[in-house]
């Protein structure tokens, strides 16, 4: 099948679309991490004393922790003293309230409008560039309904009581190595609070962009949905093409109160490194939500196509009775990418339900693992879980792995897990070919059908982009 080889080679040549660098004046702090650096970050953001104490406590904990090594990943040694922990575009001192035109151009190029436009009226955006939030759109419109949507730094200043109440309530400071690091040095991210009974009228979204060389991005997002509210939140990310690896260690916390519903969608498209596996982002992220009240619902949807290494397990703690959660994931790895991703569903309350659908696609020399935990605690009467993990292999040099952990301590709880690993069958391709569909198109068709169940869960604004991304990431790979 020489045709396959050509197509696979073509795939390797595919350029990363968002790999440009924005040339603008930025301010940095000295590289490395110590208590002084944390004090500088805190001072730069004008934080109150309690926030600084929180950071310092996290830093002290982090120093005593060791790197997690249980994942099925080969992570090169990271020198945490060789990272710049804060980088921000310089503000024009004469026009401090205006957005730098260069920045605006950057986000325009990425398709993220920083001005409220009629065309994209359905989405409010918080745009984060390196360590700071550039702007948050539609704040006034949202404020009318009592919804708070702003950058995390602003939230610390303007809504300290809310931040203090919920910060680290889902992901404790010392939860894991990267979460502790994030708690010490986190820069910016989004804060969102939906008051009781309010249905958020538009999609909220954050867009993260790494630009500066030698930096890491440590964003922190906190979403609180009060009783009976609803919000759909989307997250996107890109970075320039570089030979060095950059670290992205985020923490996302979601609190879902009684009868509230949160839908969290991610399209992760960090720079994956080149065809030889050089460069790319290390995406080590802790995402966790708690279904705190009865009848609450949290839904995770993720499309993971980027990053050199992904280490990410969006999880849900189902505490409230009758609460439910879903996890839908498509993870694509190509070239030398590595992904170890999945979810955790911790059932505590009665009649809690969860559903996990994970679709892995590996091509090139990549390694793609699903790792997931389903735990039924003794009190989880009549709890129910269903998990399905499928892996698709494209080419004979990649790997696909499945590592589920299933624990049940309640006799009325039912857990089901199934997983399959296979490649695109000759029969399916033949079927398409004989109906006049070319090889490449047929693969696209089959992969899209394979991932459909997940893609259909994405908000409309994201679904189109995700489908494009999927076909781009895999263009031409034939099994």
């Amino acid at each position: 099948m020489s045709n396959d080889k050509e197509i696979l080679d073509g795939l390797a040549d595919k350029e990363y679309e968002h790999g440009f660098v924005t040339d603008l004046e930025q301010e940095f702090i000295p590289k490395g991490i110590n208590e002084d650096v944390i004090r500088i970050i805190s001072a730069k953001k004008g934080e109150p004393e309690w926030m600084l104490d929180f950071r310092l406590e996290a830093f002290r904990k982090w120093q005593k922790m060791t790197l997690p090594t249980w994942a099925h990943l080969e992570i090169p040694e990271i020198d945490f003293q060789d990272i710049i922990y804060y980088a921000a575009p310089k503000k024009d001192s004469e026009r401090p309230n205006e957005i730098d035109p260069e920045l605006e151009k950057t986000f325009d190029k990425l398709g993220i409008p920083l001005h409220e436009r009629a065309a994209l009226a359905g989405v409010a955006v918080d745009a984060v560039f390196d360590s700071v939030s550039v702007t948050t759109t539609f704040r006034a419109a949202l404020a009318e309904k009592g919804i708070i949507f702003c950058s995390f730094s602003e939230a610390v200043r303007e809504y300290p009581e809310l931040v203090r109440k919920y910060l680290a309530s889902v992901v404790p400071v010392g939860d894991n190595f990267y979460a502790a690091l994030n708690s010490a040095v986190f820069s910016d991210g989004s804060f969102c609070y939906i008051p009781k009974g309010v249905r958020c009228p538009m999609e909220l979204s954050s867009y993260f962009r790494i630009n500066a060389k030698g930096t890491g991005q440590f964003e922190r997002t906190l979403i609180v949905a009060d009783e009976g509210s609803y919000v759909s939140y989307m997250e996107g990310c890109t970075a320039p093409m570089r030979d060095e690896n950059q670290l992205h260690a985020a923490v996302v916390e979601i609190v879902v109160e009684k009868d509230a519903e949160v839908k969290y969608s991610t399209v992760q498209n960090w720079y994956p490194g080149d065809a030889q596996g050089k460069g790319g982002i290390f995406n080590f992220v802790t995402k966790r939500g708690i279904c705190k009240g009865a009848g609450s619902h949290l839904s995770w949807t993720q499309v993971e196509t980027g990053s050199a290494i992904t280490w990410k397990y969006p999880s849900t703690i189902l505490k409230g009775d009758n609460s439910s959660s879903e996890f839908y994931s498509v993870a694509v790895t190509n070239n030398y990418q590595q992904a170890d991703t999945g979810t955790k569903m911790i059932h505590i309350g009665k009649n809690t339900r969860s559903r996990i659908i994970s679709k892995g696609i590996s091509a090139g020399h990549s390694q793609n693992s699903y790792r997931g935990l389903v735990r039924m605690l003794a009190g989880a009467e009549n709890a129910r879980n269903y998990s399905q993990c499928d892996s698709l292999l494209i080419g004979d040099k990649c790997g696909a792995h499945t590592f589920p952990y299933i624990e049940n301590a309640n006799k009325t709880a039912v857990v089901e897990h199934e997983a399959t690993t296979s490649r695109i069958s000759e029969d399916q391709l033949f079927y398409c070919n004989q109906r006049g569909i070319g090889q490449e198109e047929a693969v696209g068709l089959i992969v899209n059908g394979y991932a459909r169940e997940v893609l259909s869960k994405l908000p409309m604004e994201f679904a189109v982009e995700a489908q494009k991304l999927l076909s781009l990431s895999l263009e031409g790979s034939v099994g």
Binding site: A378, C398, G399, A400, H401, T402, E407, N408, K411, T420
Partner: protein, 223 residues
């Protein structure tokens, strides 16, 4: 127990054995299956037996196949630890694993099953199932099925469930005059019977079925 003892099944031959937990003859630590050879193993663990086993199966020659089945019935405070490492090291091999068990009393069950398909072990078919039924509030089951696949032309799957006895089935039987206890026994036997189905010798099959039925009856009263 010597966990390092290895059984090699020579090319073209077959190896058939039933192991009973707690018996003198212990499961080998490793089974190597050569070209066109066949290994068929059944492991049974009855109530009141603590059981820990760790088995590595290497499919080392083309056309080799392995069928590993196991059933465990726990009604007291047994601890069952089963670990199977199935390694497909050459192309064209087939493996099937089926483990089913019932956990009652204060028992705890840990199942760990890994299927590894090395690079270039194409045309592999590897299947693994682990199903559990919890019948007590104090029993616990943890299961970790794992797939590590480095070849693409393969058919691999695993399935794991932890559940309970179906109440609708019980109602169906009770409405036909079968007592609740008998209904439960019937449910558990039918649940475990696929494991016994892998025993090809009819006499042995009958004997083990009777033993398992007795085991199930002994724990059903405690529900």
């Amino acid at each position: 127990m010597d966990v390092h003892n290895t059984v090699t099944v020579p090319a073209g031959q077959s190896f058939n054995k039933i192991y009973i937990a707690g018996n003198e003859e212990a499961l080998p630590g490793k089974i190597v299956v050569e070209k066109d050879a066949k290994a068929e193993i059944v492991i049974l663990s009855m109530p009141g037996t603590e059981y820990e086993c760790s088995l590595e199966v290497v499919l080392a020659g083309r056309g080799a196949s392995a069928d590993i089945a196991g059933a465990y019935v726990c009604g007291h405070d047994e601890k069952i630890r089963i670990s199977v490492d199935m390694r497909h090291e050459v192309p064209d091999c087939t493996s099937r694993q089926l483990f089913k068990g019932i956990a009652g009393g204060h028992s705890s069950v840990d199942f760990y099953g890994k299927i590894t398909v090395v690079k270039d072990a194409q045309h592999t078919e590897a299947y693994q199932e682990n199903h559990n039924i919890l019948i007590s509030d104090y029993a616990k089951v943890n299961t970790k099925p794992q797939l590590e696949i480095y070849a693409d032309d393969v058919k691999c799957s695993h399935g794991a469930t932890i559940g309970r006895l179906n109440e609708e089935e019980q109602f169906y039987m009770r409405s036909r005059g079968i007592s609740l206890e008998d209904a439960r026994v019937l449910q558990m036997i039918s649940f475990l019977s696929p494991v016994l189905g892998t025993i090809s010798d009819p006499e042995l099959h009958g004997q083990k079925t009777a033993e398992l039925e007795e085991a199930v009856r002994s724990i059903v009263k405690a529900i």
